[in-house]
Symmetry: D2
Subunit: 339 residues, 4 copies
């Protein structure tokens, strides 16, 4: 039985504690938080787990095989690296780290040690995103043309990271999962309406071809929206994560281009308008799948759906967006080995 330790009892940590404790294939062995006031109420509800206020003590616990890290972003790399060094499998809260360099280092370290490094890109595990992925894979959508994502509300202003690092990882992980490849250039423009951090931003991802992805993230919007449009050459999908039912609507809409009439040099477009359907979506809690995939990966010696590489790709875009926003929207090339 795999023993799991959870670090960080803030907003998200207790959800991981609850899910790991409910799983039959693993055992919640330990909970850790440097702040005893945050640790106590969680510990009380899960009395079987050991409690630590020092991370080193958690790592020293021989019953802990795997560590889930739910601390502020700035500490992800240090904690994850130490855990890997101690021979523990690691699940890290999104985003993986706060820089490409540290994310690359973690991926490499895990790879070398033969340990599982997973990132909690929760939305990727949702029934809705999995359904969209299967629609794309089946070919019914046709060629993906664009993804437009809006994630806005009157949200909690963070004091350590701007709205891009706070909200965009959700959309970027979904886009990476759906498209299966990384953008070539990233640009971002934002506004600092209060304080020294952007509270509103627009991020554009350009790819090698005409595919484009665009994000609007905003802490200062009057209404809450979590909406993604996926345009395809055959069909188009609207994914509204807040809809109580019919979260995904698939539209038989699009255009068919006819051969250009050379003489008149004009576009001949045929419009297709047909049925709409909203496939039934499984309502499991995505986070329980995150935990199950992590444990399964450890058992089977395989990667998770959102592994270190997926986490790294998201950080690449975040870092580029950060650079772009500081250069007033200049587009930033995302380089890789051999580029």
């Amino acid at each position: 039985m795999i023993g799991v330790g959870v670090v960080g009892c803030g907003y998200w940590g207790p959800n991981l504690v609850r899910n790991f404790s409910a799983m039959e294939r693993c055992e919640l062995r330990a909970i850790c938080d440097t702040n005893p006031d945050q640790l106590k109420p969680v510990a009380r509800r899960f009395p079987a787990a050991a409690t630590y206020t020092r991370f080193e003590d958690l790592l020293a616990d021989p019953g802990v095989d795997a560590v889930a890290i739910c601390t502020p972003v700035g500490s992800h790399h240090g904690l994850a690296s130490a855990a890997l060094a101690a021979g523990k499998h690691v699940l890290v809260e999104k985003p993986l780290t706060d820089s490409v360099a540290t994310a690359e280092q973690l991926v490499e370290q895990a790879d070398r040690a033969g340990l599982v490094l997973a990132v909690d890109h929760t939305f990727v595990y949702s029934g809705a995103v999995q359904k969209i992925r299967s629609i794309i894979d089946s070919g019914t959508l046709g060629n993906p043309l664009y993804i437009d994502s809006v994630r806005i509300n009157l949200g909690l202003f963070q004091s350590d990271i701007n709205v891009i690092w706070d909200l965009a990882p959700h959309d970027l992980s979904v886009i990476y999962h759906l498209v299966g490849r990384s953008p070539r250039w990233v640009s971002a423009i934002g506004a600092k309406h209060y304080g020294h951090l952007e509270s509103q931003a627009y991020v554009t991802l350009q790819y090698d071809d005409s595919f484009i992805a665009h994000l609007h993230v905003n802490w200062l919007a009057p209404v809450k929206l979590r909406s993604t449009v996926i345009g395809g050459s055959k069909k188009m999908i609207v994914y509204d994560d807040l809809a109580p039912s019919e979260k995904i609507r698939v539209y038989e809409k699009g255009v068919t281009m006819n051969a250009n009439d050379a003489q008149r040099e004009r576009l001949l477009v045929d419009y297709r308008v047909g049925d709409m359907y909203a496939p039934y979506i499984d309502k499991h809690e995505p986070l329980s799948q995150v935990c199950a995939d992590f444990i399964g990966a450890i058992e089977d010696g395989r990667a998770t759906l959102t592994d270190g590489t997926a986490g790294l790709e998201v950080v690449r875009v975040l870092e580029a967006a950060q650079q772009s926003i500081q250069k007033n929207g200049e587009r930033i090339h995302i380089g890789r080995d051999g580029d």
Copy 2:
């Protein structure tokens, strides 16, 4: 009684014909289209008006004091300039012209000749936009922070202009009317999914301060949206032009920043969440107000609400967006005399 001639009997022209013919303070004297097949059905419904297939003949008609131009954008400058030269007042379909240089020339020419030059920015005359403007003017919105506008649908692909020149004039004219000033920089990114023109684009307007405006225009979307969010420091407005009722919703939502606690160097934010209200909106046809304002301006020797200058400001942004899109989103400075 002011005599009006309308040029161009395509999609929009007949609406102007109908409105001018219904007005008591002017007389519809002439209709013109180089294509007799387009001219005929309109002429049949308005038998009192003279018909011309040559623009020169319309200009030569002494009964015509004012000309409304509803032709493709590329012809606006030539026709409007000729009409002004012939001493006619001019109302031009949006956008005013296809370049800043020609727009500036028209404004100057009208000014010199003491003639009215108006642009048909129809939405500015709608009850909804007028109501938003009055809310902003009254101070209840507080300091405007941003405008985010989405204008997407499965739309007609144009063969002569891209989606920015086609759809963005609506949003840009509304933004200019609401904000009352022009952006300092414009950037735009688009995608050519079919043909050689952008069918989807994102345009960002940056101002001297932290105010920001952003547009999403798209001919290839599965759902039709015409939605604008206006964020203010005290309240926020959502304007949904397609809503059958409650087109404008005003939210008592926002944040109040407290003095920074120097020691902890963190942001203290108080959230305000209160009532929402949807003011009653007058349902007049905006185009009838466009026509009435044009005639009134001629009678009174004054400018219209959306005069040549307003048209020029919109063209400035369009041209800058066009330059930016060709430079992959590089931000373009909007220069003016003295800058």
Copy 3:
């Protein structure tokens, strides 16, 4: 070419005039209204038609083969009967007449004379209702269980008829068309909030089996709703006539009853929850189909989709509802020959 005369130039008549004048298979020959002020503006737009202020003169016009009657309900029977007596085919605005006796008389008279008697149940001709009918006919809905219809808004108070006679004919004609049979009992309860006529009412139709239909009609509602739910044993349909798109949504939802476990005497229910789909709906103007069906029926010597019999069935329910409402909701048996 069939010559058509339209009687009544109030709210609805001009729409029939416009549609008949646009049809190629008939000719609009005459327009009639006893009020010259209502007649004139319509006559001006259709100068080719003769105008009459006396109905007798219209009937005497040898060019008029068919008459469309768009006058207040109280006059339907007298005008239609006279028209049939004069050998004219007749299309009557809904409801057919204001009593079962007069409706039966008209159906008989038309039958004897071999003339077409049609009722303008416009909604039956809409793309949405035709699509629902085809879904029911195909068997995919399963056994119809109920229809629940809501037609409410802040509407025009009528001075001659109550809200049931004003609004319910729409729902009753649709229900009759979809279900293809008449209820056995009708009950109705209403409220007279202002004046001496009910401005709000609930009408229930009970059938020989457990199928049930229910209507809520209301002139005094804050929001406008035109919504019908059709429950079936296999699927269920929500028809929202005001939805800009997806007017019809078909839900794969329902229950399957298992054999009763005799010992425990309890119900075993399996719930089915699946996809939803919204079929594409043709957007033709229903009224143009009403007119085309009327003319086609005259040409082919056949009945229309909503013939005198359909009109009579609607009047049967209206009269029974009226009786019930006066008896505080007592259920009224709808008798027929042989019952």
Copy 4:
């Protein structure tokens, strides 16, 4: 400190257990369920409470001052009566009992014993209903004209009670709370689509004046709706309990009747159409207020907001509706002493 015992660990009981255990002014002393399998998981989460599988044992516990009863309706009267006889204050799940006679007996018994008898009409304690009540009390709604309530979904078929007894108590308790008086007549029509119990029903409440209330309750609907319209002479309210925000919308809509012009004997109606506003609604959990009110009433020797009398009034309507449905919708007079 008041000691509380909760009876019944099915669907709703654990929610009461959780709320009482979280309150500072009382102590959760005991949990009781005849089924040990239902009792155990709840007991495990609240280890401080005693557990009983026999109700007599709970009553014999001297630490239990008050009992909350969350068992099937049929057992409410027996358990509550025994608890009152044992000197315990009682909170009963809705509906109070399954007959007027037993409900009256309980009210009398509690009254005689000087004990608190409360009914858990949860919705009455919601922020939305409290806000509507305050709008009515303030007079801004004007004279209430009608309440129309829809509570439908693909719901759990109950095996012991029909859809009226299952769903209507919610609406009836809200209506009684808002209107403050009981109907004079009740009629109901239903349909048994599966099994021997009505799964769909319409209930009408008629009052001494023209005020009317109507309910649609349905276990077999494709969409979930919880919507109530409250029509008033000055304003109208739409209350959508499922709306994520703006649950209550207040419309400045209505009609004003002018004096009848005697000669023309017709109604002169002026329509008023104005702003809409959606007041901010407090988002507390209504059930926590139910529990707090119950404890407060015990402490202060006062009645709760939804006391035995309120519970009795709801049962009066339920019983009358049951009689009416068995008589095919015949209207049933609700008699009281002195009627």
